[in-house]
């Protein structure tokens, strides 16, 4: 039996502590650990999932040096609050030369394959959401000096976040954290991403028997990630010049950043110098949490940035509705923002969340179910040319038949496999509906 010298756990979970840390991962038996069988696709290293104290954990076996490095990198990513799996522990086995790295399994997350195997064939709009999430993740990592080194669809998990997807780094074996990245490092990382994303997408298309004509389109779309990345990066790092009289444009710029989800830490205006009388604007951009922070301050709700963006819009619409209902001079008196927020929570959000979550069979997160309800209701109403009301939208959600390109459609990725109808080969090979 290998001698165990070093076990670090960051979670005081008795069942986690009781796992057979002295054994190779392939030797872990059902007697010693509650093993959970999850389909995660090919991996360089042995990975198993265990349930301990009601929580699901991923345990990966890898050489000690690499394991210790990945653990350290993941801890740094956590301290910077970046979207990556959270490290929970590390066991070093000197006799086997192995490390066992424990991470907390990301709730409601899924791999790209799962989504596209469940969607009707060839949905470029759905792919665009996924790729947008990849570009955003890479920008976030690079802004914090993190070089990924092996970004691919297979090394990323996705969760739903309002009408967007949130991408999470799950494999940091090749990652490095620097004070800042050089342009060369960023460019190289981006090239790796484009290549891997194209490869992962083409491989999946072949697996699903899609026609070969889709390949050039998938390559184009992967290359588009680089463009999306560059646009976002440039916008966040631009230092535009304004004349003093036009300084109101600064506000427009900040509003745009906020709309993109970024909070602003500090702005500075300095003379451009060299005889130029204009001012140079530098915006120090904080985390991508603008809406979620605002919503939390108003309501105490802690939700994803994409969800918060939708809920805040809904809250503001509700506020406008209240104001419209009130009359005369007392329109806003005696009703502070928090009162409105409180009423919104009680009258709209909570009942809406319950109804929507029940409609989707309790799958996923209730807040997300409500965001789906709002989206579907809006899409159906647009189609019908009139407000169709909640009930029609709830019926569509219950039937799992939202419009194929809606964000709500991505909810299929969250449905447990057992609850899905077995797909027929015909369904998988349904001819492409052409580019939208």
């Amino acid at each position: 039996m290998p001698a165990l010298t070093d076990l670090r756990l960051r979670v005081p979970s008795p069942e986690l502590l009781g796992l057979p840390w002295d054994k190779r991962l392939e030797e872990w038996s059902a007697d010693a650990a509650t093993l959970v069988d999850l389909q995660v696709g090919p991996s360089r290293h042995e990975v198993r999932f265990v349930r301990a104290d009601g929580v699901l954990w991923a345990v990966k076996q890898l050489p000690q040096r690499v394991g210790a490095k990945e653990y350290a990198v993941l801890r740094e990513l956590e301290s910077m609050d970046l979207p990556a799996v959270r490290p929970a522990g590390l066991a070093l086995q000197p006799d086997t030369g192995n490390a066992l790295l424990v991470t907390r399994y990301l709730t409601s997350s899924w791999q790209y394959r799962r989504l596209f195997m469940r969607l009707p064939p060839d949905r470029p709009r759905q792919r665009a959401r996924l790729l947008d999430a990849m570009a955003t993740l890479l920008v976030e990592l690079h802004r914090h000096g993190v070089y990924w080194g092996d970004c691919s669809l297979a090394n990323t998990l996705f969760t739903r976040d309002g009408q967007r997807l949130q991408a999470w780094l799950v494999d940091a074996e090749t990652s490095e954290v620097h004070p800042r990245l050089s342009d060369g490092q960023r460019q190289h990382d981006l090239e790796i991403l484009v290549e891997n994303v194209a490869g992962g997408a083409i491989d999946l298309a072949m697996m699903l028997g899609r026609p070969p004509e889709i390949v050039p389109r998938l390559i184009e779309e992967a290359a588009g990630v680089a463009q999306r990345y560059a646009e976002l990066w440039d916008y966040l790092h631009e230092r535009p010049l304004f004349s003093f009289a036009d300084r109101w444009e600064v506000e427009g710029r900040i509003r745009r950043l906020n709309e993109m989800g970024f909070a602003v830490d500090e702005i500075s205006l300095e003379p451009a110098g060299d005889g130029d009388e204009r001012l140079r604007l530098t915006v120090s951009v904080a985390g991508r949490k603008y809406h979620s922070t605002t919503l939390r301050e108003l309501t105490g709700l802690d939700v994803g940035e994409g969800q918060a963006q939708i809920l805040l819009a809904h809250l503001r619409a509700y506020e406008a509705e209240l104001q419209a209902r009130s009359t005369g001079p007392q329109r806003t008196t005696g009703r502070g923002v928090s009162d409105v927020a409180e009423r919104w929570l009680v009258e709209r959000l909570r009942p809406g969340m319950l109804a929507a979550h029940a409609a989707v069979g309790g799958v996923g997160d209730p807040v997300q179910a409500y965001c789906d309800l709002l989206e579907v209701r809006w899409l159906l109403s647009e189609q019908a040319g009139r407000d169709v009301g909640d009930d029609a939208a709830l019926a569509v959600l219950a039937d799992r038949s939202p419009p194929a390109d809606s964000a709500a459609m991505a909810g299929v990725a969250e449905v447990p496999t057992a609850q899905l109808p077995r797909p027929s080969p015909e369904r998988l090979r349904e001819p492409s509906s052409g580019p939208e």
């Binding site: 360089r44 050489p63 297979a154 004070p179 460019q187 190289h188 490869g199």
Partner: protein, 441 residues
Amino acid sequence: MASIEMRNIIKKYGDGFPDVNYVSLDIADGEFMILVGPSGCGKSTLLRMIVGLEDITSGDMVIGGKRVNDKAPRDRNLSMVFQNYALYPHLSVYENIAFPLRLHKMDDAEVKRRVHEAADVLELHEHLERKPANLSGGQRQRVAMGRAIVRQAEAFLFDEPLSNLDAKLRGQMRTEISRLQRRLGITTVYVTHDQTEAMTLGDRVAVLRKGLLQQVASPRELYEQPVNLFVAGFIGSPPMNFLPATVQGDRLDTPFGPVTLDERKARAVQGRELVLMGVRPEYFEDASLVDPAKRDVGSTFRATVDVTEWLGDSQYAYIPFDAPEAVANQLRDLSRELDSDQLRTQAIVSIDSTSRIREGREAEFWIDTRKVHCFDPATGDNLTLDAEAGAQLTREAVEDREADLAEHAKGAGSSQGAGAYPAASGGTDRTGAAGASSRRT
């Protein structure tokens, strides 16, 4: 293909501390150069500056005769091998290799030409239509290499490519990489912290310590003529033994008794009081098994063995010795710097596997005194370095490589060296030395 020249390369980070300090290194066209050293020595930073991932603070990086300091990575046309060797299970071997070219929208005829050329070198021709799942482990690694080959880069760069593989696969890959490099004759720079990898793969090895280049030489020169204590301690497994020795004319007094030096070495240590005597484990032997004709070129001593370790084809004995506190501290610091867990006030000696020397008993040992080196305890310099003998070893290695390349150039296009890859891809460890690193201390 291209040569890579580095002139006075410096890399400083924000704190002003140089990560790479005045490194000058010429890598010849077609050469396999290893950058090795313990963590923090600057080897990966240097590689990243070659690729263009790190900005160069000062100095010149010249690739194929052109200064590339300000060129983006993609304009340097270098290939980082194995940064991703994931194969796509639903694509054929052909498409897995062709994949990077498809992204660059290369026309089909050129893709076909390049893939077939790579498949020739890698002996994958008959597998091109298969899926990766139907290949052996070794063949799969070759597919990943194929991806790097079709890019037709000026040089291959490897950054600790084997560190996240298990020991068996690591051995196989090492063999595959070595064969591939010889067959393609492509300039290769390979970073590792593992001296065994360095010694088995490289034409020449550059040893780095805290950002400074210590020695660049063939593996044999590094092994036999290390320039200082650091290189001597880093290269070789188990490592060289360092014994405190006081100089008495042409004699060294060591914890294992007196050792007589030849004239050249005696002159080199003249006027010094204390030196560190370096002896590799294999320059010891069980005195009872030494050929009488050889006995006189060495010295014998008696010592009590702490532990013996019999490995079948070889055997090691561990002999503790006393050292003045200052020397013991210095050896401990060196050990720590080398990321080594060896106890340095204990000699590791190699004895014949048939030797009956036993633990806890006193025995007689022999040292081949022709092979000892003496180091300055203060500066670490090798006082008895024979630079000419060392240079000769490296010249021989360069000649061997050039002959190899010429041979492959001649053979290319004809038979493609049938049988260069074993059918079942049973890559083996060329030295068998890898196991030594897990030896107990």
